[in-house]
Symmetry: C2
Subunit: 215 residues, 2 copies
Amino acid sequence: MTWQKSGPGTRRGYHHGNLREALITAALELISQKGAAGFTFADAARAAGVSPAAPYRHFRDRDALMADVARRGFEEFADALARAWDGGKPTPRAAFERVGRAYLEFASKEPAFFSAMFESGLPVADYPEVGEAGDRAFAVLREACEAHAATLPKERRPPSLMMALHIWSLSHGIAALFGRGDAARRSIPMSPEELLEAAVLIYLEGLGASPDQGR
Amino acid sequence: MTWQKSGPGTRRGYHHGNLREALITAALELISQKGAAGFTFADAARAAGVSPAAPYRHFRDRDALMADVARRGFEEFADALARAWDGGKPTPRAAFERVGRAYLEFASKEPAFFSAMFESGLPVADYPEVGEAGDRAFAVLREACEAHAATLPKERRPPSLMMALHIWSLSHGIAALFGRGDAARRSIPMSPEELLEAAVLIYLEGLGASPDQGR
DNA sequence: TGTACATCAGTGAACGCGCGTTCACTGATGTAC
DNA sequence: TGTACATCAGTGAACGCGCGTTCACTGATGTAC
């Protein structure tokens, strides 16, 4: 018996059936365990239960697999942000805060995607589809900022691009420094969510929204 | 002639003289070229012009060298922040903004240190001296927040720890996303410094400081 | 309905490579007397 | 002042390892007739 038993649940023959998906799943698992840098092509093949040559049927090389993971990550990220935004209902302000929390939630629930997206060191020029997916995620954030800015008096309305970059940076900084279970991070006496919420509150107030405005 | 010529400037014999420092210099160069993950012990030895076994006289292993780089990074970082703070002169507000800029400046001028400090994936528990150096850097930021908070009316003075975490996260987010020459980063229509300065301004105003207060 | 054949998605052995690490060693340096 | 010796900081050869990648191959699947 040299080949794998094909019991129920593990049913597989010579052909895997859906190796491409299996490799991506394996990559996510490995990245969450060992980080984006520690993940190897051979590892992914092993985790999927195939020979080290098999992945080459589906991806040009390790980076191509990583790029696909990053692209999917940005797409799921964009979806998650868009769901949180929900067209700005019931008020831009309430929806805006949901978007911020969705950012952190994604970072903490999908650390593997997050790593692939922001820490993989992929040459972005070689994988334009990754950058485009990232742009779509950013566009959601920008739309939220645009709508929120529109609730402010016209003469002190900030550029929505700048505002979006501020919120993105703040969320990203909190996620990178404190937002992951990662042992390398330092602990703080409040949750990342609370930290972000407080910061956004202060920031928006600084923009000129009174705390109750727009609610 | 099997051994290296010892012309002026390259003067070296069998003994290197200061291999420990040379390895750290080499590590910084390599990290800035290939990132924290791509840097290897053997590479560092090669760059320093010694055999692959030589580094073991000075560092237990690759991680120990990386940890030393990270520790030094945090120390220089703390120094840079403290110089920028300069005891809060002439006003806490002005000094405060200098500290933020110093954060970005460090990230952009010392990308290798920055990588080693925040992206090396070192098991922090094994290198407590790294964490302690990081704490010293954070303490400077906290002191600045403390002094700045003291200029606000008592009833709406924010916890300085929270405030420090906000500024740290914001600076870190901007530095990580836009602050490095790195080809992987996306470009934005303003400098990271301007972006940070605007964000800090808005944030402080949100805390209740009028734009001119404390200047 | 059966069969021949093309195509696809795997295998497994092999390769070259660079890394981390160990080892006995040796050249250089400092010091006690 | 010279010499013997201890110590230090290197060498270079060797090892096992896992990775990326290629190659001829083969089992499985789908399809034309």
